[in-house]
């Protein structure tokens, strides 16, 4: 899907970029929960399961897994952070 107002922008960082070969992706995730999105993505890229943790951020915040995604929300894959 191309970038459009009818989609969600999904960002990949660190090792998730290497695993998926993607840095950005546009999908319509409207109405899906964070948990469902994560499950579907992991089915497509099983290597994501190997990470010790994988958080999903929504609009620059850590959110609970049962949160429902709205159109326009920015999603990001947050593998274990290692700043500092």
């Amino acid at each position: 899907m191309e970038k459009s107002v009818n989609s969600n922008k999904i960002l990949f960082f660190g090792i998730t970029k290497d695993i998926t070969g993607l840095s950005e992706l546009y999908l319509n995730l409207e109405g899906k929960s964070i948990a469902t999105f994560k499950e579907e993505l992991t089915l497509k890229f099983p290597k994501l399961k190997l990470l010790s943790s994988l958080n999903i951020a929504l609009n620059h915040e850590y959110v609970p897994l049962d949160l429902i995604i709205s159109l326009g929300d920015e999603i990001a894959l947050i593998p274990p952070v290692s700043g500092g």
């Binding site: 960002l11 960082f13 660190g14 090792i15 290497d18 290597k47 190997l50 990470l51 010790s52 951020a57 620059h60 915040e61 850590y62 990001a76 947050i78 593998p79 274990p80 952070v81 290692s82 700043g83 500092g84």
Partner: protein, 138 residues
């Protein structure tokens, strides 16, 4: 409370310290992180820091708000680099000022501990025989 939160190419420690220094405060605590030459006895060639900039800024601002709530600091500044860094270079600087030193020091400890847990920045270590994303590699 005023704060300074920046993602930078190079740490400017003077600006971090100047920002928090204040004549109503007798104490400034500073934490400075640098690139180590070795990780588990393997020689490090360089590091690459990647960040999710808008979220990283938001999370660092949150850390300052929480530091203030917990320790009653006067001012805090956090600078973190993005990009390539070599052995000995500075990668993160945190400074906190407070009327009393224990608060400034506790706030600084809390801030770096929390930054390492929560701020979306990732470090790739380059060795002679390859590279890994720290903490992430399966």
């Amino acid at each position: 409370m005023k704060n300074l939160v920046q993602l930078v190419d190079s740490i400017d420690l003077d600006s971090v310290i100047s920002f928090v220094s204040n004549t109503s405060c007798g104490a400034v605590s500073i934490f400075l992180g640098t690139v180590r030459s070795h990780t588990k006895e393997k020689a490090v060639k360089k590091l690459l820091f990647e960040g999710y900039a808008p979220m990283a800024i938001k999370q660092m601002e949150l850390i300052i708000a929480e530091s203030n709530e917990l320790y009653g600091i006067e001012k805090m500044a956090i600078q973190h680099v993005l990009g390539e860094k070599y052995v000995g270079e500075q990668v993160v600087a945190i400074a906190a000022s407070a009327p009393h030193r224990q608060n400034a020091m506790d706030a600084c400890t809390f801030a770096i501990d929390t930054l390492k847990k929560r701020v979306p920045i990732w470090k790739k270590e380059f060795f002679d025989d390859g590279a890994i994303w720290v903490s992430s590699h399966p």
